[in-house]
């Protein structure tokens, strides 16, 4: 599967990773190689084979609907790159 620069740019945008224009071509090449190699899965007949979403036959457990404690705010905010009055601060989100 050959990826062109525009597709790589689109994927980079979806993944929120900035890729400089100069790097797009090389990255497209690398990713295309990996995707070409992955194509061999098409050789496998998977009609009527259910997708494996979970490795072991397990049911999700339920817990009691009660408050078991919350992380203290100071702990949560402790490693914040920028914070003010106990809130994380970020560049403006809304126009």
């Amino acid at each position: 599967m050959s990826l062109d620069k525009a597709t790589v740019a689109k994927i980079a945008r979806l993944a929120r990773i900035k890729v400089p224009d100069d790097d797009l071509a090389a990255l497209a090449g690398e990713l295309s190689n990996i995707l070409d190699w992955i194509e061999q899965l098409n050789e496998v007949d998977t009609r009527d084979v259910p997708p494996m979403t979970h490795v072991a036959a397990m049911k999700l457990k339920w817990r009691q609907d009660e408050v078991t404690g919350a992380a203290p705010r100071d702990d949560v905010i402790a490693d914040a790159p920028e914070e003010r009055d106990g809130f994380f601060t970020v560049p403006k989100v809304l126009e």
């Binding site: 990826l3 929120r16 990773i17 900035k18």
Partner: protein
């Protein structure tokens, strides 16, 4: 007392109980060993003060005859486990300064059993790699070198720091994580024992997530018995991990009966791959002879979808990684690179914070999950995963345990295989299938290559049957009598 670092975990445990030496003396010997091994770059963070404080508490308990299961035993911890109050980096620039305010379940269990923390070991960034060269903190070196050569070799990955530390006698044991082979492959390259238990056996709570349906914590040590001891302390149901299996933890050490008479050992035809070195094939044969000599019976089995395991993994793991790594955005912890808008901040932070291999995998993962491609790639890979798992289920009707080589080669030089990501991925060809099927697997050192490097054999078992895997491994270990030491270990 440098000789203390040479003991096995079981010997140290007995020595402490017999009061041959104190936990403090043992910790001091190990701290010296960690310092001596600095040239390997196996540790990102050393925690000697914590180790000494823990050792003193161990001594107090031992003196009263109230020693806990792992009291006083110094361990190295892969820097993917959140350790409260100690820097946890996942070997990534994007987690600069991250100091967890909580402890992972697996490490909490180790400290509750009295173990002592020597430090956090180096790894491939976010557990993505097979060489431990993809680290923001520089590559890890294997304490083994080829006979007559000076070139540094890789310890394997992603848990290369843990494997190298144990091989260099800088820690009686270590924790690692294994997603596609990240414990077993470095164990093979470093000549130590490493085990990935059944998916769900150990809690993933507090472990920096790479691929949630594949990640598993597991032990490294120099003997099978030591791994059994560590696994017993690490394993157990955890309600905070929704994928944790609510099953009893057996006494893994008690499983080491040394008896494999009548055991059926499966030899999978499809693991004879092109390009597999002659010495790997020879070691595999030798493993078969050893087990037959001990009364086991080998049976030829087929795992027909083996060759599709790697491409299947390289769709599923990156896809899950792209979701798990979405949280690293510069908002709440770690690196933040400013931007004019919030999106720009995300894009700049992640571009600078993630290394090359991580970016590759996040982008592949994003692509295979994107609209229009999800069915063709991700869903397809999940169906292939079902077939791979079924192969094992059918094989285990004829066999009780499966014997394979762990890796297609011995350790390679730092810098090799860097040009082609796929060449690097092929290191995991024998380990990935058991990961996809969620089955327990162990690697133990079985011999040396012609160049004098360790080679490992792998045993794979039924789900939650670590006991049979350990029992068989113990017998192989006795037969192999592997006692070679790396050149760059302690006291060289």
């Amino acid at each position: 007392m440098a000789g203390l670092a040479d003991l096995t975990l079981a010997e140290a445990r007995d020595g402490l109980r017999n009061k041959d030496f104190s936990a403090l003396e043992l910790a001091e010997a190990e701290i010296t060993a960690v310092e001596a091994a600095r040239g390997l770059n196996a540790f990102i963070t050393e925690t000697p003060e914590r180790a000494l404080a823990q050792a003193q508490r161990s001594d107090a308990r031992l003196a009263k005859g109230e020693g806990l299961a792992l009291d006083g035993l110094p361990l190295a911890i892969k820097d993917l486990f959140c350790t409260e109050g100690t820097l946890t980096t996942a070997a990534s620039h994007i987690l600069d300064g991250f100091t967890p305010r909580y402890e992972s379940t697996v490490t909490a269990k180790l400290w509750a059993a009295g173990a002592v923390m020597l430090g956090k070991t180096n790894l491939d960034e976010f557990a993505m790699g097979s060489s431990s060269t993809q680290s923001h903190y520089g590559p890890v070196e294997n304490p083994w070198r080829k006979a007559g050569e000076d070139r540094p070799l890789v310890p394997g990955g992603s848990s290369g720091g843990s494997a190298a530390a144990v091989a260099a006698r800088a820690g009686l044991g270590a924790t690692g994580t294994d997603t596609g082979g990240s414990i077993r492959q470095p164990a093979s390259f470093c000549g130590v024992v490493g085990m990935k238990p059944t998916y769900g056996r150990c809690s993933r709570f507090g472990i920096v997530a790479f691929a949630s349906s594949l990640d598993q914590a597991g032990p490294f040590a120099r003997t099978v018995r030591d791994c059994a001891i560590l696994l017993g302390a690490m394993a157990g149901y955890d309600p905070r991990d929704s994928t944790s299996a609510d099953v009893e933890v057996p006494d893994f050490e008690a499983a080491l009966s040394g008896d494999v008479r009548g055991l059926k050992v499966g030899i999978p035809d499809e693991y004879r791959v092109d390009g597999m070195g002659g010495e790997i094939e020879k070691l595999w044969r030798q493993g078969i002879d050893w087990l037959e000599g001990a009364g086991a019976e080998t049976v030829e089995i087929s795992l027909p979808h083996t060759r599709y395991a790697l491409p299947c993994y390289y769709i599923l793991a990156p896809a899950e990684a792209s979701a798990n790594l979405a949280r690293y955005d510069g908002v709440r912890y770690g690196l933040r690179v400013p931007g004019d808008s919030i999106d720009e901040m995300y894009e700049n932070t992640r571009a600078e914070g993630f290394g090359q291999e991580v970016k590759r995998r996040v982008l592949i993962g994003t692509y295979v999950l994107s609209a229009g491609y999800y069915d063709a790639y991700y869903l397809k890979a999940q169906r292939v995963r079902t077939l791979i798992s079924r192969d094992f289920t059918e094989a285990f009707e004829k066999a009780d345990v499966i014997l394979t080589p762990t890796t297609p080669s011995a350790a390679f030089a730092v810098g090799e295989k860097m040009d082609d990501p796929i060449a690097m991925y092929l290191n995991d060809v024998f380990t990935v299938p058991a990961s996809l099927a969620g089955l327990p697997g162990i690697s133990l050192p079985a011999g040396l290559s012609e160049a004098g490097l360790p080679l490992g054999l792998q045993l794979i078992g039924r789900a939650f049957d670590e006991e049979t895997v350990l029992r068989t491994a113990g017998v192989l270990e006795d037969a192999a009598a592997f006692d070679a030491r790396p050149g760059r270990g302690v006291g060289e």
